[in-house]
Structures are given as structure tokens and as C-alpha cells.
């Protein structure tokens, strides 16, 4: 890796470690290997959102040309959010693409992601299915997101109704996550979900 990238990351580590957010255990960054090209981030779900209390792990790849090009960030923890793919964890956020500025840091990226979790942009969706639910059935969206947070990000709030439905499909022989995705995309209608799964 280029010198400038390594020295930047080293300094940024100090910054993240120093920052107030880390004290409140809101964000965290760790090294994955020794050459600073891959990092593991973690953000806590922002309060008063369906993600509250969950811990979301991020995969951060630092390009050779960092900080002149943005880091490649993706959710490793599954999440139900209009701007984040429920399948791959890919994120649609302007600062990770053309709005990236060299003066931004990992700390600002993680805080921006936290802000994105608190305020979705359903008009620029990454995941069309989630975005439709967000717009048309806001209550169901909140419940689904809470349910996913509970299952994948160790969030505190369970949604018993959804748990039951997933259980039913699992008993039919479907893998748990496949069942959950199908139900989430089919407005939690058991009938429709089974149809798509068999389809």
C-alpha cells in the first residue's frame, strides 16, 4: 500500500480511538490483517429506530489510492433498509461514491452510515423491495427491520408474530434465512412466500 494511505489509516485509528463516539461505544474500527488494506467496522443502531440496540458489522476495504478514493464499505450483518441491499449488504451512499472527499475519514464514514440508518433515502433505493415496503407499509417496514435487527444484529426487541411465521416455513424444510427473506419481501403473507419459494 502507498505510504500516504498507511500513514493516514494509522492516524485515523488514533482519531477513532480518541473520539467521543467510541466512548459511548457507538462506532468501532479494528484491523483484520497487518497491511491496513482491510478493516472491520462496527456501528450501533441509532436510538429511536428499528435498529436500536443492534450491532452492525461492516467490511471496509481500503484502496491503494486512499484517501483520494473512497473506502469500499459493505454490511456484513444482514439489515433491512431501503439503501442497503438485503442480499449483498451493498450500500448506496453518495459519500462512498462521487461525493467522497479526501478530507473525510473512517469516522465520518461510519457516522454517515449511522445517520443513513436513522434517515433512509427511499427515493434513491438500493433495495427496491425494501424501499417499496418503506413507502407503502411503514409499520410493516419498522417491524421487519426490528425483526432482522433482533435476529442478525442481536437487537433486544423480538417480533413474535414474525418469529412464528419463519418457524412455520422452516418446518416445511426451508432454510431459515431464505424463509425470512421470502416472508419479508412478500409482506409476511405465508401464502405468497410459499408460492415464491416453490415458484
Amino acid at each position: 500500500m502507498a505510504n500516504i494511505a498507511i500513514s493516514r489509516i494509522k492516524r485515523e485509528f488514533k482519531e477513532v480511538i480518541k473520539s467521543e463516539e467510541i466512548a459511548k461505544s457507538m462506532i468501532k474500527v479494528e484491523l483484520v490483517n497487518d497491511n491496513y488494506s482491510q478493516l472491520r467496522g462496527e456501528i450501533s443502531g441509532p436510538p429511536d429506530t428499528p435498529y436500536e440496540g443492534g450491532h452492525f458489522v461492516l467490511d471496509i476495504k481500503i484502496p491503494e489510492t486512499y484517501p483520494f478514493n473512497p473506502p469500499k464499505v459493505r454490511f456484513l450483518t444482514r439489515i433491512w433498509h431501503p439503501n442497503i441491499s438485503s442480499v449483498t449488504g451493498a450500500i448506496c451512499l453518495d459519500i462512498l461514491k462521487d461525493q467522497w472527499a479526501a478530507a473525510m475519514t473512517l469516522r465520518t464514514v461510519l457516522l454517515s452510515l449511522q445517520a443513513l440508518m436513522a434517515a433512509a433515502e427511499p427515493d434513491d433505493p438500493q433495495d427496491a423491495v425494501v424501499a417499496r415496503q418503506y413507502k407503502e407499509r411503514p409499520d410493516m417496514f419498522r417491524n421487519t427491520a426490528t425483526h432482522w435487527t433482533n435476529k442478525y444484529a442481536s437487537g433486544p426487541k423480538a417480533v413474535p408474530e414474525f418469529d412464528e411465521k419463519v418457524c412455520k416455513l422452516r418446518d416445511m424444510g426451508f432454510e431459515e434465512h431464505t424463509a425470512r427473506s421470502a416472508l419479508s419481501s412478500c409482506e409476511w403473507s405465508l401464502e405468497k412466500a410459499t408460492e415464491t419459494l416453490f415458484g
Partner: protein, 534 residues
């Protein structure tokens, strides 16, 4: 979002730099005799014989071309493009009295439309204009000294922290634009290098600070970047965007040809580059009279349809609905912003409609499902019938195209003949009629080739029937006769003078027919005779 298929961009003409690596913004370097008219610009026309340089095809027989083709145009080398750019900047500068680098950015903002810029400069709020064009108003002098966070203890060298590498540096190493954001020289250099080399951005590099959109000017780039390879690319990007944004300029589409063409009116018209390539200024395809640009584009696309490349392109890319540049989507959401400098359209990837209506009801792409799908189904039903019709015209078109490629051989053998004739006591000037005959043969072939495209798109009506009748007796017959007469002319060695006259009569007749046919089509355009199939 990646951008592909910009055939208009030349390979890499680098700017000539003077020893200081300066962009040469002085008036003196502007060349006065850049104007070439059709004749002097193309050396393979006229009476010289130089078969090696000669291309079979449309770049010949100037004196018999239609009147529209005589309008003047210029062929500009890269240096002349820069000079032209300087002239444009200086012209504005005389009136506006702003720094030249600022004027360049402003002109670029208006796609190099001087009148529009001057109008805005004097008609409306100037500050608003500077804001839109992302430059700091030159009238405000205070902003540059927006008190950088200088850490100055008495006696110590003043230092600042660079926000990019997060190191503390002596203030002397720090610099910035008029917006007041300051970074160290190493980071600036690296930032500009990444922008220029990786992102291919020249005109629109903004300040490295987050959320600051003030544009970097040339002087700053030249001051901070020293690597020649980066500078060369930067200057290439600037020239390229100047040519691409300017309506009156276009690159010659020949691979590795660094010339640009300049016309007084950006209409559909033929231009001939110094490299010999004759093409249509409006659509950049080889000159295609009598077919109109949109049809020739459709035709060429259709002809390429069978290739694997097309399959890949159609499976993986879409065209920008505004500027038609081919786009491959490599991530992100469906909200697309075209990267083409002069386009920047906002649109939806799914329906290719404008993004605006999606803003509130983001997935109202039902339009796509309804119209597009129905159109696709209908097209499939019709396609069988259409296919046969297409193959009819396509075969003829392709045959002529193939023959055109073989016309090189004809040139070679005619050249041989001409030499032979010169040994039989004929002067050089006397034998030129043979070459002329081949030239006309080629131009007839080209016209004939394009008439098939024209006929393919014509909808059946009275006028098209007349055209179809005239077509074969026009260039078709003339072509045949012309080639026959050349051969009969060249084989009758003992009666040179009579065969000479015979060949000349034939090719004059053929050329006359060709012109008549083109005039017929153009008359049709003027009187709205032609109706197209969609």
C-alpha cells in the same frame, strides 16, 4: 457508473507544451492561416496522382460535389485547438476583465458558448453565476485569507495540520484555492494525480475538502503537479472537453487521428479531415448522403446487431436517454447521472425516463412494463416479415461495401495502365481521365450503397415507388456502364483518343445520374415527400 463507447474521443493527442510546461495562453501563438477550404484541405483530390495515399471511397471528386459540401470548414491540429481555445478566452477577457483561468471555467460551464456567458455576466446577478459555475467570485478579495488554523508561537515556524494526511506541516508547504481550504503540497499532488489519471477528470476537479465544490484552475494544477505524464493527460483532458463541449468542433473519428474539425454551423454536412477521412459532422459516421443521420445510425446499429459484441452490449448496457452514450452500470441505485461532460442527465435506469418524477413516487416505472413490454411483443410478431425485407437491402448494401474495399485493386491496375499509356506517348495529364473514372466509380458505389439504406427506411407511397424506379436506372446502371467503359477503354490500345472520349462521356453521364439522384432525394426532403418506417 462507467461510460463506454465514446468513439469520438481520439486516442491521445498530447498538447505541445513549451519549456515551462505552460498551457500557452498567449495571443501571439494563435495561427492566422488555419483556414482550409475543401480543396486545399484534401490533397488527394485535384489532379495529383498518388495512389498509395488514395483511399477508395468518398473522399474524391470534389468539383462535382453538391453545393452544400462547399461550405468552408477547418482542420485543427491539437496546437491549433489550444490556440482557438485561447482566442475564445481572450475574446471574453477583453470584455469581462476577469482572470483567464476563471474565464476558462466559466466558458466551460456554458459549453463554450461565449454569447450565453456574456449575456449572463451582464444581465443577471454575477455572484449567482459564479456560484453556479463553482468559482469564487473574483470581486471578493477577502476570502482567500480565511484565516487558516495557524499554530504560531513566537519564534517558531508557523505550522498547520493538513486535513488529508493529518500531519502537521510548516505553513509554507500548505496551499489552497480561493475557498480557503488548505492542504499540503504532497496531498494536493496526489489528489490531482488521482483525479486526472484514475477518474479522467480535467475541467471539473473540485477542492479536496468535503462539500466544497470550488473548481481547481489550471494555474494551480500546473503549480502543484510536476509529473509530465500527468500534465500531458491533464492538458489532453482539457482539450478534449473543449472539443466535446463546443458545438462547432468535433474530433476526427479515425483511430489515432488527432485532428479536430471546426465548422461555422453544426449541421449534418460532410467534412474531410487531413487524414483523408470524409465524414458527417453531425453524426461522425462516414458521409452518408442521401440518408439522414438518425437513419444511418439505426442502420449501422442494425447491421452490427448480429455480432456477439452487440449481444453483450444489449445485455449489459443501456444508452443515456439524452446523449445516447453507452453506459454500463457497475453498482449503486437506479438514480443515474450521466458522466458525459456536456450531458449530465438525471434518469432512471429501469425506465430510462427522467429522474424527476421518481423523486416522490420513486418506482413509478410501470411505464416500462406497459409500453416497452407491449412494444417488444409486437415487434416479435412483425420481425419475421421485417427480417426478409431487411435482408434484401442489407445484402445489397453489404455487397457494395465489400466491393468498395476491393476497389483498391482497381486503382492499382488502373495505375499500371496509366503508366503503360504514358509509355505510348501520352502525357501525364492526358491519362488522368482514367483515375477520374475510378474516383467517380467509387463515389457512385458509395451513393448507391446508401440508397439501399434510404430505401429500406422509406415507407411505401407514391414517392417511394418513384424513387425505387429511378434508383436502378440511376447509379445502378451508371455504375455498370462506368466500369465497362473503363475496361473497354483500357484494352483498346490503338484508339486512345476515341476511348478517352468514350470513358469521359460515360463517367460524366454516370456522375450526372448520381447527382440527379441525390438532388431528387434532397428535393424530397425539402418537400416532405419521404415518410419513414418506424
Amino acid at each position: 457508473m462507467a461510460q463506454h463507447g465514446r468513439s469520438a474521443a481520439p486516442a491521445s493527442p498530447c498538447l505541445a507544451m513549451d519549456s515551462d510546461g505552460d498551457l500557452q495562453y498567449d495571443e501571439d501563438s494563435a495561427d492566422d492561416d488555419m483556414v482550409y477550404d475543401n480543396d486545399s484541405g484534401n490533397e488527394s483530390s485535384g489532379d495529383e496522382v498518388d495512389f498509395d495515399e488514395h483511399r477508395p471511397g468518398p473522399s474524391t471528386a470534389h468539383e462535382v460535389e453538391l453545393a452544400a459540401e462547399d461550405a468552408p470548414f477547418q482542420v485543427l491540429s491539437v496546437q491549433e485547438i489550444v490556440d482557438f481555445m485561447v482566442v475564445e478566452i481572450n475574446e471574453v477577457n477583453e470584455v469581462a476583465q476577469l482572470p483567464r483561468t476563471t474565464i476558462r471555467i466559466l466558458l466551460n460551464h456554458f459549453n463554450w458558448d461565449k454569447e450565453k456567458l456574456l449575456e449572463r455576466l451582464y444581465d443577471t446577478d454575477q455572484e449567482q453565476l459564479f456560484l453556479e459555475a463553482h468559482v469564487v467570485s473574483p470581486h471578493i478579495t477577502g476570502t482567500a485569507s480565511q484565516a487558516p488554523r495557524v499554530n504560531s508561537r513566537v519564534g517558531a515556524v508557523p505550522t498547520e495540520e493538513c486535513e488529508i494526511c493529518l500531519t502537521v506541516r510548516p505553513s509554507a508547504e500548505m496551499s489552497g484555492l480561493a475557498c480557503g481550504h488548505r492542504f499540503c503540497a504532497a496531498c494536493w499532488c496526489e489528489y490531482l494525480t488521482t483525479k486526472v489519471m484514475d477518474d479522467g477528470v480535467g475541467q471539473t476537479i473540485s477542492c479536496a475538502a468535503h462539500g466544497c465544490d470550488i473548481l481547481v484552475d489550471d494555474e494551480t494544477v500546473l503549480r502543484l503537479v510536476s509529473e509530465p505524464r500527468v500534465l500531458a493527460r491533464y492538458q489532453h483532458l482539457i482539450t478534449n472537453s473543449f472539443v466535446e463541449c463546443n458545438r462547432y468542433l468535433c474530433w476526427c473519428p479515425t483511430p489515432d487521428c488527432g485532428y479536430a474539425l471546426k465548422v461555422p454551423n453544426p449541421d449534418c454536412r460532410p467534412v474531410t479531415c487531413k487524414c483523408g477521412h470524409k465524414f458527417c459532422f453531425a453524426c461522425r459516421e462516414a458521409w452518408h448522403d442521401p440518408v439522414r443521420c438518425h437513419l444511418i445510425k439505426r442502420w449501422l446499429k442494425k447491421c452490427d446487431d448480429d455480432s456477439e459484441t452487440f449481444n453483450w452490449i444489449s445485455a449489459n448496457t443501456k444508452e443515456c436517454p439524452k446523449c445516447s452514450v453507452t453506459i454500463e452500470k457497475d453498482g449503486g441505485c437506479n438514480h443515474m447521472v450521466c458522466k458525459n461532460q456536456s450531458c449530465r442527465a438525471d434518469f432512471c435506469w429501469v425506465c430510462l425516463g427522467s429522474w424527476e418524477p421518481h423523486g416522490s413516487s420513486w418506482y413509478s416505472c410501470n411505464r416500462y412494463d406497459e409500453d416497452e413490454a407491449r412494444a417488444a411483443r409486437d415487434a416479435q410478431e412483425k420481425s419475421r416479415a421485417v427480417l426478409n425485407r431487411y435482408l434484401f437491402y442489407c445484402n445489397r448494401y453489404m455487397n457494395h461495401m465489400q466491393s468498395l474495399k476491393f476497389e483498391n485493386k482497381l486503382y492499382a491496375s488502373v495505375k499500371e495502365k496509366m503508366e503503360e499509356m504514358q509509355q505510348h506517348n501520352m502525357s501525364w495529364i492526358e491519362v488522368q481521365f482514367l483515375k477520374k473514372a475510378v474516383d467517380i466509380l467509387c463515389s457512385c458505389r458509395v451513393t448507391l450503397m446508401y440508397t439501399y439504406v434510404f430505401a429500406y427506411y422509406l415507407r411505401k407511397n407514391n414517392q417511394s415507388a418513384i424513387f425505387e424506379v429511378r434508383e436502378p436506372e440511376g447509379p445502378g446502371a451508371m455504375h455498370l456502364r462506368c466500369s465497362q467503359s473503363i475496361w473497354s477503354g483500357t484494352s483498346l490500345r490503338r484508339t486512345w483518343s476515341t476511348s478517352n472520349r468514350k470513358v469521359q462521356d460515360k463517367y460524366r453521364y454516370c456522375e450526372g445520374r448520381r447527382k440527379a439522384l441525390l438532388e431528387h432525394v434532397h428535393e424530397g426532403y425539402e418537400r416532405d415527400w419521404w415518410v419513414y418506417n418506424d
